[in-house]
């Protein structure tokens, strides 16, 4: 599918591997593993809270249906610790994620800065040994942040989506049970029909998203690259003017600046249209997902095989599973941003590697001569 074509391409591996070589030392520290275990534990407890809230939902609406004041009051009392625990967990998750991101960014940035400053390489880098290593300051400040922020958020979201889907599949299977339909006069029993319903619905939404946003990742990557080239052209313009004693730049450099701006604006225009197209699907999904859940449960509720509480519980579980299923389509903008940042950091590292190799070669030559 074209949505995925921009992720693991053959040419990407050396760049991703080069980035990982400089970024991985963090994941060999005790602090990183401590934070990872803490975050996984938070996700698991958050899932437990989600299940408890889902059960609370069922009990609350059942009490409402029975007009049972005592049970309603009990549920209201129960909601307070549940809500408090959920809020606390969300806050703890933010702390854990951002601490891990900050620490990873710090270690990676310090490593790259050290490499950049060593033997005045930042001065020699102006020769642009590797195409795309322009504007190193931006790569160090912004791209390393993006490259180390996104993997933590995305991995946790993926892990959460997988275990949430599995857990709530069980919930949907148990509550929904089976349903008997007679499409052509022959009765057919579908076991765990809500599970099949959510899989079909989620697949449909994903397929529509892929169809409507098939060029999204490519456009985002190109736009990010264009932004970087525009910044580099502006920096080069200023730098060359400064070194020329403040004289205005010549026509060619002005043309380059205008050309890079035009490319950035055109990619921006294309991103706008990609977002407009995918908004039709995402907005439609926000409105339809809960309603589809209600409609799938309605026949059993009307037949008296499901209580109001179970109906709301199943509908809520349907939305939870459906959201979990959408991990990729919800995150592909961020994945594309992450990929372009990793590539930009990696090209800078490769340029620095090349300079380092030249320095070693010169030293060896001097030693041999001396």
């Amino acid at each position: 599918m074209r949505l995925f074509q921009h992720f693991p391409l053959h040419g990407d591996h050396p760049l991703t591997a080069r980035f990982w070589r400089s970024a991985s030392p963090f994941w060999r520290t005790g602090k990183a593993w401590g934070l990872a275990i803490f975050l996984v534990a938070i996700v698991l407890v958050q899932l437990l809270m989600q299940v408890l809230l889902n059960l609370w939902n069922r009990n609350f609406f059942n009490a409402l249906e029975r007009k049972d004041g005592y049970a309603l009051w009990f549920q209201a009392e129960l909601f307070v610790p549940l809500a408090a625990a959920s809020i606390l967990l969300a806050a703890a998750s933010v702390w854990g994620r951002m601490t891990a991101q900050r620490s990873w960014r710090e270690l990676t940035t310090r490593h790259v800065i050290e490499k950049w400053l060593e033997h005045d390489r930042f001065r020699h880098l102006n020769n642009h040994l590797v195409k795309g290593s322009e504007n190193p300051e931006y790569r160090i400040v912004v791209d390393i942040r993006v490259a180390t922020d996104a993997p933590i958020d995305l991995s946790l979201a993926l892990f959460s989506s997988i275990i949430t889907s599995i857990t709530f599949f069980v919930v949907l299977w148990t509550i929904g049970g089976s349903i008997t339909v007679a499409p052509f006069g022959w009765p057919v029993t579908i076991p765990g029909y809500l599970v099949f319903g959510v899989i079909i619905y989620s697949s449909l939404v994903s397929a529509l998203m892929v169809m409507f946003g098939q060029h999204m990742t490519g456009v985002i990557e190109r736009m990010n690259q264009s932004d970087a080239e525009f910044r580099a052209a502006a920096d080069a313009f200023r730098g060359e003017n400064d070194s020329a004693g403040g004289k205005s730049g010549d026509g060619e450099r002005r043309q380059t600046l205008q050309l890079k701006l035009q490319a950035t604006l055109l990619w921006w225009r294309e991103l706008l249209w990609q977002l407009v197209r995918t908004t039709f699907v995402s907005q439609g999904n926000i409105l339809f997902a809960p309603v589809v859940g209600w409609f799938l449960c309605a026949p059993k509720y009307l037949a008296g095989a499901m209580t109001l509480g179970e109906l709301t519980q199943a509908a809520a579980a349907f939305v939870v599973v459906q959201s979990a299923f959408n991990w990729l389509v919800d995150n592909y903008q961020r994945l594309a941003d992450w990929r372009s940042s990793v590539h930009r950091v990696a090209t800078l590292l490769l340029a620095l590697d090349e300079l380092e190799a030249k320095e070693h070669a010169n030293n060896n030559r001097r030693n041999a001569a001396g």
Partner: protein, 142 residues
């Protein structure tokens, strides 16, 4: 010496404008500058670039140079000996007006209709804007 600027986007209307400007330059013994606005590319072409390995900046530059080169050949065929080429970026009317002022052009030659037919209908055509706002004589070629 009279400086004549002709704006082109490579469309048939713009080609007629280039021919007219070339004949006028030859008749007046003036200088001809051919001007184009870079950056016009369709969404389909952009999406094609997004999923391939092409460079947009290069594509834009090549497209603009192609338009200018074609116009230059037309002008040379019409007998003009020296032709200056220039690419501008941004809003067409505004960019052409800026160039006219900067180059102190005596005559501006444009086609009545270029490629932007829909935007022309919605926003008013570039030639209409130029005819009203240019600080020099404007020749609109049908």
């Amino acid at each position: 010496m009279q400086r004549i600027i002709v704006a082109t986007d490579g469309s048939p209307g713009a080609n007629r404008a280039v021919d007219a400007a070339a004949r006028l330059t030859k008749a007046l013994g003036g200088e001809l500058e051919i001007f184009t606005i870079g950056g016009s590319i369709s969404g389909a072409e952009l999406r094609k670039l997004a999923s391939a390995s092409g460079d947009l900046s290069e594509t834009l530059e090549t497209a603009a140079n192609k338009v200018l080169e074609q116009a230059r050949k037309r002008a040379l065929r019409a007998g003009v000996t020296a032709v200056k080429l220039e690419t501008g970026w941004g809003d067409p009317a505004e960019t052409i007006l800026n160039t006219v002022c900067r180059q102190k052009a005596g005559i501006l030659v444009v086609g009545r209709r270029g490629r932007g037919r829909l935007s022309g209908l919605l926003l008013g055509s570039v030639s209409q804007k130029l005819a009203s706002l240019a600080p020099c004589a404007v020749m609109v070629v049908p």
